[in-house]
């Protein structure tokens, strides 16, 4: 493209942006979804063309002055079969293809970095595990699967990033997840797409995709001091959870160290996986998930903690491998996958607040 002058190039880009027919493709799944979309556009165009051409042709060939006597035709089973089976076949292809993409979008890989997002009227709050908080924006690195765990504090909202082709409802009362892997640095639109009241149109923001190095710099400069897990530890103590959940062999509550991701048997005999939702439910609606062998005495904390508080507790419990203190660190780069984060303890270098471990 060396022979196109810079002015022309700028004009071309501006033209393409202003007259774009589809958003930029900034995630790994975007081209895959666009492929299906364009297949559908093609099929639709062909279908529409067939119908329109037939209607036009018949209208011309068989208009009254040219064809004064209509020929009464009952039908044709062959034609009926054709135009039943071919559309059905095409729709079924779209069904399968669409379902595959759907699975891909909503099945995060195991090494995805998890960021919590709480939606409330009328803003988005993103919480990085390292304690960085953002309002109406989300900074993420390229080349890294990112999972969002979403919840709403009030009504339905929907977290939508058109450039990534992903969208997920943030529902009050339960976590939902979506994941993506950004490919191109840049700033992209973030919209709330589920009508949520007066300032629904103002619940917009920016998705800032950075290169991995820039992202590390950003993490370091935006930290508030404590990681989510550390905040959670503090909350755990202040709510006196340790009264029952401690290392004491006669403790009245189940041991929480290492519980995340494991299978838990409930008093009903049912076996469930202790995931984010399980931990949240246990804090807010404990009567429904009494572990086998324990008395149903855990009080509910509903109304006493916000969704952010729950997230902090969840993060804390995720990080527990023993009841020893969570290691002090502000170096959250260790929390990026590739450092075998999941379930593993954070590094033992105590660093003074605000300083980055280079």
């Amino acid at each position: 493209m060396n022979d196109i002058s810079p002015v022309m190039w700028q004009f071309l880009v501006k033209w393409l942006t202003n007259f774009a027919l589809y958003p930029p493709e900034a995630s790994k799944i975007a081209p895959q979804m666009d492929a299906l979309y364009f297949f559908m556009v093609l099929v639709s165009l062909i279908g529409l063309t067939i119908v329109v051409l037939l209607v036009l042709a018949f209208s011309v060939l068989y208009r009254k002055d040219r064809h004064p006597h209509a020929v009464q035709i009952e039908g044709s089973t062959l034609l009926e079969a054709t135009w039943t089976i071919i559309p059905l076949g095409l729709f079924l292809i779209m069904f399968v293809w669409g379902a595959l993409i759907y699975f891909r979008v909503y099945t995060p890989p195991a090494n995805a970095m998890n960021i919590y997002v709480v939606g409330k009227q009328w803003m988005w709050k993103a919480e990085h595990p390292g304690g960085q908080h953002e309002i109406n924006s989300l900074h993420i690195p390229t080349g890294q699967p990112v999972q969002l765990t979403l919840i709403s504090q009030d009504v339905f909202h929907s977290f939508s990033i058109p450039a990534f082709r992903v969208k997920r409802e943030a529902i009050p009362g339960r976590y939902t997840t979506v994941w993506f892997e950004p490919t191109t640095p840049g700033t992209y639109h973030l919209f709330c797409t589920q009508y949520c009241g007066t300032d629904h149109s103002q619940m917009v923001g920016e998705i800032v995709v950075l290169s991995p190095d820039d992202f590390k710099k950003w993490l370091a400069s935006s930290t508030s001091g404590n990681s989510l897990a550390q905040d959670g530890e503090r909350l755990f103590a202040s709510l006196q959870c340790t009264t029952c959940h401690n290392a004491n062999p006669a403790s009245r509550g189940p041991v929480l160290a290492g519980i995340y991701g494991s299978k838990v048997t409930l008093s009903t005999g049912q076996v469930v996986t202790a995931d984010d939702a399980f931990i949240r439910e246990s804090i807010l609606f404990p009567s429904q998930q009494i572990s086998q062998g324990y008395a149903p005495i855990m009080p509910t904390f509903q109304g006493q903690i916000s969704e952010e508080g729950v997230i902090e507790l969840v993060e804390y419990i995720k990080s527990l491998d023993s009841y020893n203190r969570v290691r002090q660190t502000t170096n959250t780069t260790e929390l990026l996958p590739g450092s075998e984060r999941t379930g593993a303890p954070v590094q033992t270098q105590p660093a003074p607040q605000g300083k980055v471990n280079q």
Binding site: S287, Q288, P299, T300
Partner: protein, 251 residues
């Protein structure tokens, strides 16, 4: 159900008025009129099934999720009264069916007698229901109106129920809250049912007056027959409500 009208030959619309006074002009025959209105009533009852269906769905889901709360809350209902109500309604369906029979047999006094019995039994049902509702009010079990969970947090504080169900354990606060949900569905479902009963009894009153005037014993059985269908339907709804609401833990 026949699908074609009875008239098999063309006739002009206003040719002669050789039809009973109660046959409406847009029908070809009394048989067609009866057929059509009967079918219409069945269809209407189908819409009622769909209407109650939403409530039943909500109930079944909530009961599945919050079983302990629903069980203990259901123990607050008096099975004696519930059984009495069930018997009253079944009996009233019987008297209604006898009324329909009398209408077919063109026996005016029999018809009026059966309708009056049905009326009284219907009122009896509503009377028992109001006793039960008053009890709920006194124990602060009406959702949204000073609702009290004390009977569930501490069953011993409610000796009347506790003696019948000594095995009921105290519920945790989060589970006890769901008892209010049970009562909400209880009042919504039985209330909706009672509303249909009230409408039915009102219509029944009107039918008694007309039956006494002899309108339904000349062969014009449509109203009685179709109302009978409605009444039986309201009965059947109760027959589903009773085990769902009262008999949760009985098996």
């Amino acid at each position: 159900m026949s699908d074609s009208p009875a008239v098999m030959h063309a006739e002009t619309a206003d040719s002669h008025h050789e039809h009973p006074a109660y046959q409406r002009h847009h029908f070809e025959s009394v048989a067609q009129q009866f057929d059509a209105t009967n079918f219409a009533m069945w269809l209407f009852l189908l819409t009622e099934v769909m209407f109650f269906g939403g409530l039943f769905t909500a109930y079944l889901i909530m009961r599945n999720w919050y079983y302990p709360a629903f069980v203990e809350a259901s123990h607050q209902l008096n099975i004696g009264w519930g059984t009495a109500n069930t018997s009253v309604l079944i009996l009233s369906s019987f008297t209604m069916a006898m009324g329909v029979y009398n209408a077919h047999m063109r026996r005016k006094s029999g018809l009026v007698f059966c309708l009056i019995l049905t009326f009284i039994l219907g009122l009896g049902f509503l009377g028992i229901k109001s006793i039960e509702y008053t009890e709920k009010y006194e124990k602060h079990h009406i959702p949204g109106f000073h609702y009290s969970m004390s009977s569930f947090l501490n069953p011993a504080s409610d000796p009347e129920v506790h003696n019948s169900y000594p095995d009921d354990k105290p519920l945790g606060l989060d589970m006890a809250r769901h008892t209010e949900l049970y009562f909400f569905l209880y009042f919504a479902m039985t209330g909706m049912h009672a509303l249909h009963m009230i409408i039915g009894i009102a219509i029944l009153g009107y039918l008694i007056v007309r039956a006494q005037a002899g309108d339904f014993t000349t062969g014009h059985i449509t109203y009685i027959e179709n109302f009978g269908l409605y009444w039986h339907f309201v009965d059947i709804i109760w027959i589903f409500l009773f085990p769902l609401l009262y008999l949760i833990s009985r098996h």
